[in-house]
C-alpha cells in the first residue's frame, strides 16, 4: 500500500463527503429538518445533468449548473408543500414525509430515465496528474477546490452577513425571530433550496466517479450522515473536518482491512461515538 496515495484518496473522498453533507448540515441546524429524500435528490441531480449532456447536447460545465438550478426549483416546490408541518416543527411527520418524497422521486426517475446504469462523465475525469507514485485527476482537484470554496463562502455568509444572522436567529428560536419581524417561512424555504442546490453541486462533482443508477438513492449518501452527526448538527466547520476525517478513515480502512465492510465500519465508529456523546462530537 502506498500511504501517500491513500492520503490523497482520503482527501478526495472526504471533500466529496463534506460537499454532499453540507446542505443537510445547514438544513438540520436551521430548520431541525431531516431530509430523507437527500439521496434521491442527489440521484436526480446526477440524472438531470446526464440528460442535459446526452439529450440537450450541452457540455459538462453547463449541465452541472443546470442541474443545480433545477434542484433549486424542486426545492422551492417541496418546501412549499411541507411548510405547515415545518412551521409547526412537527419533526416526526416531516421525516416520514421526506421519506415518501424520496420514494416518489425514485419511482419517477426510473420511469423517466430507465433502470439501467448510465455513465455520467466529466471531461476532466480522464485528465490525470502524476507525481511519481501518486496519482489523481483534475476532477479530484475541482471537487476539493469547489468544496473548500463553498465552505468558505458559506461560513462568511452565515457568520458575517445580515442574511446569515437571519438564518441563525431562526435556527435559535423561530418564534422569537418571528416576533422581530423575520419571515421564518421564507428562511426555511431559502435553507431548503440551498440544501437541494448544494446536493446537486455535490452530485455534479462526485457522481462522475462511478456509473449512476436511479436506484442508488439514500444508501449512496448515507455515509454523509456520519459527517453531519460527527461534525455537530449545524456546524459548518465541524462538517468539513468530519468530512475529511471520514474520507481518511474510509480510504485507509478500505486499503488496510476490507473494502466490502467500509460502510459498516464507519457506522460502527459512529455508533460508538453516539453511545458516549449522543449529540455528536462537536456538541458541548
Amino acid at each position: 500500500m502506498n500511504l501517500a496515495q491513500q492520503i490523497i484518496n482520503g482527501l478526495v473522498l472526504g471533500s466529496g463527503y463534506a460537499l454532499i453533507a453540507i446542505g443537510w448540515t445547514v438544513l438540520l441546524g436551521a430548520a431541525r429538518l431531516v431530509n430523507f429524500a437527500h439521496g434521491q435528490l442527489y440521484m436526480l441531480a446526477a440524472f438531470i445533468a446526464w440528460a442535459a449532456m446526452h439529450k440537450l447536447g450541452v457540455g459538462y460545465f453547463v449541465a452541472v449548473p443546470l442541474a443545480v438550478l433545477a434542484l433549486g426549483l424542486i426545492g422551492v416546490v417541496l418546501q412549499a408543500m411541507m411548510l405547515r408541518p415545518v412551521m409547526q416543527q412537527n419533526l416526526t411527520s416531516l421525516m416520514i414525509v421526506t421519506l415518501g418524497f424520496g420514494y416518489v422521486i425514485q419511482g419517477g426517475a426510473s420511469r423517466i430515465f430507465g433502470g439501467d446504469p448510465e455513465s455520467f462523465i466529466s471531461p476532466i475525469q480522464t485528465a490525470s496528474i502524476r507525481f511519481g507514485e501518486i496519482w489523481f485527476t483534475w476532477q479530484d482537484v475541482l471537487t476539493l477546490v469547489g468544496t473548500l470554496l463553498l465552505f468558505g463562502v458559506l461560513w462568511l455568509v452565515l457568520n458575517r452577513t445580515r442574511l446569515g444572522a437571519l438564518v441563525r436567529s431562526v435556527a435559535e428560536d423561530p418564534k422569537l425571530a418571528q416576533l422581530f419581524g423575520i419571515n421564518a417561512a421564507l428562511v426555511y424555504i431559502g435553507v431548503f433550496v440551498f440544501e437541494c442546490a448544494a446536493v446537486a453541486l455535490g452530485a455534479g462533482l462526485v457522481a462522475p466517479r462511478s456509473p449512476i443508477l436511479t436506484s442508488m438513492g439514500f444508501d449512496e449518501v448515507i455515509l454523509t450522515f456520519v459527517v453531519v452527526v460527527l461534525g455537530g448538527i449545524g456546524s459548518v466547520g465541524g462538517s468539513l473536518l468530519a468530512g475529511f476525517g471520514l474520507g481518511m478513515f474510509t480510504a485507509l480502512f478500505g486499503a488496510l482491512v476490507s473494502p466490502a465492510y467500509t460502510t459498516a465500519a464507519a457506522f460502527l465508529l459512529l455508533l460508538a461515538v453516539l453511545v458516549m456523546r449522543p449529540r455528536g462530537l462537536a456538541a458541548r
Binding site: 438540520l28 431541525r32 431531516v34 408543500m81 411541507m82 405547515r84 408541518p85 412537527n90 419533526l91 416526526t92 411527520s93 421525516m95 416520514i96 414525509v97 421519506l99 415518501g100 418524497f101 424520496g102 420514494y103 416518489v104 422521486i105 425514485q106 419511482g107 419517477g108 426510473s110 420511469r111 438513492g217 439514500f218 444508501d219 448515507i222 450522515f225 456520519v226 452527526v229 466490502a260 465492510y261 460502510t263 459498516a264 457506522f267 460502527l268 459512529l270 455508533l271 453516539l274 453511545v275 449522543p278 449529540r279
Partner: protein
C-alpha cells in the same frame, strides 16, 4: 359504544379468516391475503414504536430480516421444524433489539431515526457480504413449514396452506397489541411520549420504558419475517429494501395512528392496490410514496381524521 370498539375490531379481524374463500378461493386471493397478514404483522412491530413512543424507527427491517434469516438458516441447514425456527427468530430479534436499544437509548428524534437507519444499512452490508448468511444470493430452498401440536398441525409451502398460520399470527399480534395498550408499559410509553415531565414526576423511567418497548416490538416484525421466508422459500438481502420500510410507515399512518386495526387496513389497501391495480413497479412506488406524503401533509391524523372532519361537517349542516 367505545367499550365495544375493541372486541368488535377483533371479531372483524377474526372473520377475515374467510375472506379468501368468499373472494372465490382462487390462488391469487390466498396469496394476497397471506401477504397482507404477513406484512401487517411486520408493520405492527414498527407501529409499537411510532404510535406509542412517538419515534420513527427505520431499523425494523433488521428484525424482519433477522426472522427470515433465522428461519431459513435453521430450516435449511439444521432441519429444524416451524416451532423451533420461530423460537430462534424471536431469540435472535430480541438480542439484536437489545443491542440496538442500548446503543440508541439516549438518542431522540432524528438522531434515533438516522441511527436505526444506519444500523439497517450495516446489517444489509453484513448480510450481503457474509457467506454464512448466503451473501448476495441469500438462502434458497427453504423447506415447507411444519407446525404440529399434539399430532394435529399444518405443513405446507403453498399460500393455501400458509393462510391459516398467517391469520393465526395476525390474531396473536392483535391480541398482543391490545394487551400492550392496556398494560403498564403501554400506558407508561404514551405518558413518556406525551408528557415526559408527568412521567418523571410519577417515577416512570423514560429510558427503561423506551428500551422495553423497543425490545418488545422486535419479535413481532421478526415473526412476520419468519413466515415470509416460508412463503417465498427464499431469503436474501432484498429484505432490507426500503420498500418494506416505506410500506410499514405508510400502513401505520394511512388510517390513523394508535388504532388497533390501523396497520392491518393500511397494509390491505396497499397490497390490494399493488396486486390488483398495479401500474408497474415504478408507478407503484410513486403511488406508495405519494400516499405517505399526502396523508401526513393533508390529513396528519390519517383517513380516520378525514372521516371525522367530514362527519363534523355534515352534523353541523344538519
Amino acid at each position: 359504544m367505545r367499550r365495544l370498539a375493541t372486541p368488535a375490531a377483533l371479531i372483524v379481524a377474526a372473520l377475515a379468516y374467510f375472506v379468501p374463500q368468499v373472494a372465490g378461493g382462487a390462488p391469487v386471493a390466498y396469496a394476497a391475503c397471506t401477504t397482507i397478514a404477513i406484512l401487517a404483522v411486520m408493520s405492527y412491530g414498527a407501529d409499537l414504536i411510532l404510535s406509542y413512543l412517538g419515534e420513527v424507527s427505520l431499523g425494523h427491517t433488521i428484525f424482519w430480516a433477522a426472522g427470515g434469516y433465522a428461519a431459513s438458516l435453521l430450516a435449511v441447514n439444521a432441519g429444524w421444524n416451524g416451532w423451533a425456527t420461530a423460537g430462534a427468530a424471536i431469540a435472535v430479534s430480541v438480542v439484536l433489539a437489545a443491542i440496538l436499544g442500548l446503543v440508541t437509548l439516549r438518542t431522540r428524534e432524528f438522531v434515533f431515526s438516522l441511527v436505526t437507519y444506519a444500523a439497517a444499512v450495516v446489517a444489509m452490508e453484513v448480510a450481503f457480504n457474509w457467506p454464512f448468511l448466503g451473501g448476495s444470493d441469500g438462502i434458497v430452498g427453504v423447506p415447507p413449514l411444519q407446525l404440529t401440536l399434539f399430532g394435529w398441525g399444518v405443513s405446507g409451502s403453498g399460500n393455501e396452506d400458509l393462510w391459516p398460520i398467517a391469520w393465526a399470527l395476525l390474531m396473536l399480534t392483535l391480541l398482543f397489541i391490545q394487551r400492550f395498550r392496556h398494560s403498564r408499559l403501554g400506558t407508561s410509553a404514551l405518558m413518556v411520549q406525551m408528557n415526559p415531565d408527568l412521567a418523571v414526576a410519577l417515577g416512570v423511567d423514560g429510558r427503561t420504558v423506551r428500551f422495553l418497548v423497543f425490545v418488545a416490538s422486535a419479535p413481532i416484525s421478526a415473526l412476520a419475517g419468519w413466515l415470509y421466508a416460508y412463503q417465498r422459500a427464499y431469503v436474501g438481502p432484498d429484505m432490507f429494501e426500503s420498500y418494506f420500510l416505506v410500506l410499514m410507515l405508510t400502513a401505520i399512518v394511512i388510517v390513523g395512528r394508535r388504532l388497533l386495526l390501523g396497520p392491518l387496513i393500511g397494509t390491505a389497501l396497499i397490497i390490494v392496490q399493488q396486486t390488483f391495480f398495479s401500474i408497474g413497479g415504478d408507478g407503484d412506488k410513486i403511488v406508495l410514496g405519494a400516499v405517505l406524503a399526502a396523508i401526513l401533509l393533508l390529513w396528519p391524523t390519517g383517513l380516520i381524521g378525514l372521516w371525522n372532519v367530514l362527519r363534523a361537517g355534515t352534523t353541523r349542516r344538519a
